[in-house]
Amino acid sequence: MQHIPGKGSEEGVSFTLADFLKAGEKELSLTVHTGKKGLNHEVLVPIMNRPGLALTGFFEHYAWDRLQVFGNAEVAYLRATDEYTHYTRLKGLFERKTYCVICTNGIKPPPKSIALAKEYGAVMMSTPMPTSKFTYQSAFVLEKLGAPRTSIYGTMLEVNGLGVMIEGDPGLGKSETALGLIKRGYSLIADDLTCIRKDVANNCLFGSASQSTAGFMEIRGIGIMHVPSVFGISAIRGEKRLQLVLTFKRLAEVKGEIDRIGQTRRVRTILGVDIPNIIIPVSEGRDLVNLVETATYQQKLIMSGFNPVEVLSERLRCRAEEQPKGKRAKNG
């Protein structure tokens, strides 16, 4: 599924079985056996469920809204039951709104289940992957698909291993600054519009470019550039965790807002995640490339636990304490 610009959603995105199939094309090697029509069904709860207990006839708490996995155990159990039970239990499953069953281990779906899936408009799939590996891999695919996402007007780069986004009004030199950073050997992730995906489990954000314009940037006066062709393949990279947001603002607009000490920790909240934020006042003659680069060094230092303001305060305090005593000692 493509990153959708401007479509912000904090709750996560709904998606269909068809989206799941496409997203997992490489990793999950799924084959659809029946129910092509059912592929438009929404994946209601993006988790795999082993319906073993339901197959034994205990349908209480049956998680029909998840994706059902038939592993060796389920199929062996169905085989061990008589024809009538086999049929009624499978029917019971589909009667309870089951919309997708996936057979793992390369097991062929039981013929009765295919017929029933057809009857109820559900989708029957299979994969050659072992159950454990499949459920593990599919969790990643599902998580990515359903992740809350948005897009932000900002240029994102990887600077010193840190995912940094530069935002600010048009014409303040975001792209030009990015160009300078690329020339210093850092990599561009997205120009102008950064697609943000939330990793809910780790409560962090990942930025990337829109698939349609990845690798390209517009520089006023030069035009559209293909960054890897001009600067080499290392000048771009795909997805990167967002760790710092730098906001460019005109000097006249930030009077009083600038923290001269750098002690207040500003944050920029995106999709409910707080990202450290620094306002960079822009005025003629300021070396923005250098400032951005230095801001990332400083941020890395702070992240490592070193606080320059505390260190300086401590030094001043110590000297103040020592001074009078020293004077007295000399005088006395």
Binding site: I4, G6, E218
Partner: protein, 95 residues
């Protein structure tokens, strides 16, 4: 000095939709106005002054763009942009 906010829907008529050249012409024209200009397609909203952002909409011939202008020259901006779209961006081989 009340800022006007106006919205209009345009249908892309040129053969290949919002590709590089139309996006360039659209953003150039939009940038000439003081108004804030946004373009929406299928719920995706981007700045009308950004060529790269316009291309991410992947709008094709027949796509409907909802254009919003906010500012003192909003009306002029919308009129000019609509004309550009109706003229199929003046691109000869896409008429």
């Amino acid at each position: 000095m009340a800022d006007t906010k106006l919205t209009k829907e345009f249908t892309l008529l040129n053969k290949y939709g919002m590709h590089v050249r139309p996006a360039g012409l659209f953003s150039k024209l939009a940038s000439g106005f003081d108004s804030k200009i946004e373009v929406e397609k299928d719920g995706n909203i981007v700045s009308g002054k950004s060529i790269m952002a316009l291309m991410t909409l992947e709008a094709t011939c027949g796509s409907v763009l909802k254009v919003t202008a906010e500012g003192e020259d909003a009306e002029e901006a919308l009129q000019a942009l609509e004309d550009l779209v109706l003229r199929k961006f003046d691109i000869p081989d896409e008429q």
